[in-house]
Amino acid sequence: MLRLVASGPGPDAAMRLEGVALRRGGRRVLDGLDLAVPSGGITAIMGPNGAGKSLALRVMAGLVRPDEGAAIPGEGLSGPRDIALVFQKPVLLRRSVRANLRHALALYGVPRRARRDRLGELLDFGRLAAIADSPARALSGGEQQRVAMVRALAARPRLLLLDEPTASLDPQATAAIEALIADTAAAGTAVVLVTHDRGQAGRLADHVCFLHKGALAESAPAGPFLLAPKSPEAQAYFAGRLLL
């Protein structure tokens, strides 16, 4: 699992944000954000509430066009098939788990003949076989998050963006999601993981980007960063002192 990443991700980035600025409610909520996501492994994005983490993910997913700067996908990546996003509060369709996944496979343009096999793989991967025919929205929070993640993986994206996927889950459900994330990265998909959980970043991330006030405050390999961040913003955040 462990993967060494040069501290400044090189030209083989899965995604690069260059000078991204975004105005919301009269404020520059993203303010010249530069950030590179390596084409493999897990990159954690950390930072206080309101730092712009969720908006940064939306920009990467192409859902929001920045007012300035650009989101530049890596070589050969384009569109929702390659870059998948799981929202912090995923919305599942009013259908069974199986039908949710089938819907995604159709939307992503997976050929009809390949869908059945892929569906089986996805159900296995997410350990969802036992609840495949349950109405998706009746499931527990952890199960719904698993369905949302597996749905995002339906078309084998090269980059998976996860917005606080375990924010409201109990330890057991969190462990299940973390296992899925690790498996996904091990299978070669680059993962961006927004998290407030230092332990989780330590367990999963290869690299951490720390955002503050819409800009990158620090970008470093996870080990050293979590042990002793260098930027005053990250230091203050971990000491419980940083407010926006």
Binding site: L63, P80, V91, L93, R94, R95, A104, L107, R137, A138
Partner: protein, 235 residues
């Protein structure tokens, strides 16, 4: 003129022994209004979805128009369809005036705005919830509308039931284009109007009771569908 008690007793009698005239009239009513409702749904569901999701010039005006047409008086719809189908009208050659087909056409026209307006609201509400998710999955307008219509299916049933209720209960449109011809175009509402004016209260009352039971049943179904839709939303 009979007393009320006698009329009620006679009306119950007609229903209890499934009087042939009564059954024929109820049957034609159901056939005409159900067909019109199905046609109106076939038009109104996609139209409502397009109004909710589409982005094109004139969408606002069209939405206002559809909402306004929801309150269209049935006699006016009847008049319009009459002008179209009358011998001198543009569709006069079809010879449809005073046939069940003309009644179906008029009721369809009457119900389409109801189904479309309710559908627009239902789909727009659902779209507010699904929009970002579907966009993140790369859904185009067509796929979005199909997804929203399917996931709103139970709520949309209530739109269809509301339309059916309106079709069954209206008199003006079927009277004008159907002509209330015995054994041909006589439906519940036109029969009630005629029988009452002739002082034949038994058949009028019997049909009235059937109409009320049908209306109650439609409302009960709509309530069930609404509850089911709520369950589907976050159960």
């Amino acid at each position: 003129m009979q007393g009320f008690g006698d009329a009620f007793a006679a009306a119950f009698g007609l229903i209890a022994r499934l009087d042939a005239d009564l059954v024929e009239i109820v049957g034609l009513s159901l056939q005409v209004s159900l067909t019109a409702t199905l046609l109106a749904c076939a038009i109104g569901f996609p139209l409502g979805a397009v109004l909710a999701v589409g982005r094109f010039p004139g969408r606002g005006a069209l939405t206002v128009l559809v909402n306004a047409l929801m309150g269209l008086p049935p006699v006016v719809v009847g008049l319009v369809v009459y002008l179209m189908l009358s011998r001198a009208g543009p569709l006069g050659a079809l010879g449809l005036l005073y046939t069940p087909a003309a009644m179906i056409a008029a009721q369809t026209l009457l119900v389409v705005p109801i189904v479309a307006a309710l559908t627009r609201q239902i789909v727009a509400d659902l779209d507010a919830e699904y929009h970002e998710t579907l966009r993140s999955m790369g859904a185009g307008a067509g796929a979005r509308m199909r997804t929203l219509l399917w996931d709103g299916r139970l709520a949309l049933t209530t739109a269809g039931l509301a339309g059916m209720g309106r079709a069954l209960a209206e008199v003006g449109a079927v009277m004008i284009v159907g002509g209330n011809i015995d054994h041909v175009t006589r439906v519940m509402t036109t029969a009630i109007a005629l029988e009452t004016s002739r002082g034949e209260l038994a058949l009028a009352l019997g049909l009235g009771m059937v109409l009320m039971v049908l209306s109650l049943a439609l409302n009960a179904l709509a309530m069930g569908a609404r509850m089911g839709a709520a369950r589907m939303a976050h159960a």
